[in-house]
Amino acid sequence: MTTVSLTVNGQSVTKDIDPRTLLVQLLREHLRLTGTHVGCDTSQCGACVVHVNGVSVKSCTMLAAQCEGAFVTTIEGIAEGGRLHPMQEAFREHHGLQCGYCTPGMIMSAIDIVNRKGTALDEATVRHELEGNICRCTGYHNIVKAVIAGAEAMGGGMRQAAE
């Protein structure tokens, strides 16, 4: 056993864990944050994407023990004060999800894209940046629309005002 202390969605957590525990298992099984999903064994599908210290990470490909002192944010932690994150709102508005299984990872990746690439995104950029997130339901059409709209909303609609 090993002990890990980290902050998850703003709450400090200390757990004794088997060193084999993956971050996703810590979240789902120890903390019962089941919004983060597992869709593959080979680090490709992206259903498990969370943010560690502010950047997107595949939580199925990180040991929980590697998260000592880290700040982890999951899909459960992005709405603030009962208000949905603009990216969550955009996915709903644009029907960017169907079965919902890949959705938490998609939203977490989408926020990361905006953090890296800014709030004015074009379709080609979004499609390229979604390389690590697989969706089987939507054909990506509405996900791409949602990410572009969510990015704009994250920018506070400033662009729109300027136009």
Binding site: R20, T42, S56, V57, A65, E131
Partner: protein, 267 residues
């Protein structure tokens, strides 16, 4: 995953000692290759030594005619580094088509090189640029470092600390992605420095990354795509699987090489 002992050393010396002591220890850098292998029970180290807590192993620096990258530097940092983009833009491009954004946020240059996956991108850059791999014990030239599929010159207890790339006058990387895994089905890195041209191929060869000498000679004459006309690597020694047989891989190498030169000249 099988059970293992987990250590998180706080100095390189401590890490090396742990590694030397462990029966079948593995160093955990970014974990983007090792952890999937362990999850599928294809790798079963008895001891895992996490370098995440070791200071001084990250960073990107231009040192005279070289670009030096710390072994624990994440792919994303290399991809977005103004220093890299200025010194060797082809390297920044290579990293931008490696894995996916979340993988690039964790994966490291040291981990990628130590793993030496025959379809990985970084080995092609190291070999073509004539990089030097600096470990806790010595400096290893790229030509010596890559020794076949998942095999390197690293000895027991040896840990990569940083990688030094001589800055080329021109360089380009083109990759044809494996349809499913997105690793390189054929990736070609060309680099010109002074009168020397080096061409390294990843993904295609059955013994990992290799230098394509015929192309180097041809480009030494004139560094233009046309110099490669009619040139194709031999199908002997090419990988063959359901996605690409040897003939297709050899053909792709030729196409990627031409496109890499075009790209190198575009700067």
């Amino acid at each position: 995953m099988y059970a293992f002992e987990f250590h998180r050393p706080t100095s390189l010396r401590q890490a090396a000692n742990l590694l030397a002591k462990a029966e079948d220890g593995r160093v955990l850098a970014g974990g983007q290759s090792l952890l999937p292998m362990m999850k599928l029970r294809l790798a079963s180290p008895g001891t895992v030594i996490d370098l995440g807590g070791v200071p001084g192993m990250t960073g990107i620096e231009r040192k005279g005619r070289s670009l030096v990258i710390g072994a624990m530097t994440r792919h994303a940092e290399v991809e977005n580094s103004p220093v890299v983009k200025e010194a060797i833009p082809a390297l920044a491009h290579l990293v931008s088509v490696l894995g996916d954004p979340a993988v690039r946020n964790r994966g490291t240059i040291g981990g990628s090189l130590a793993n030496n996956d025959p379809s990985a991108d970084y080995p092609a850059a190291c070999l073509a640029l004539g990089a030097t791999i600096v470990t806790n014990r010595r400096r290893i030239a790229a030509d010596e470092f890559f020794q076949g599929v998942f095999t390197t010159a690293l000895e027991e207890g040896e840990i990569i600390v940083k990688v030094s790339f001589p800055v080329p006058s021109r360089a380009g990387y083109e990759k044809f992605r494996h349809p499913a895994s997105r690793f390189a089905l054929a990736g070609v890195f060309v680099a010109k420095r002074g009168g020397e041209v080096r061409v390294a191929v990843t993904g295609a060869g059955d013994s990992g990354v290799f230098r394509w000498e015929a192309a180097e000679t041809a480009l030494q004459g004139r560094f233009v795509p046309k110099s490669l006309d009619g040139l194709k690597p031999s199908t002997d020694g090419m990988n063959s699987d359901i996605h690409a047989d040897a003939a297709y891989r050899a053909h792709l190498v030729a196409v990627m090489a031409r496109r890499a030169v075009e790209k190198a000249l575009r700067r």
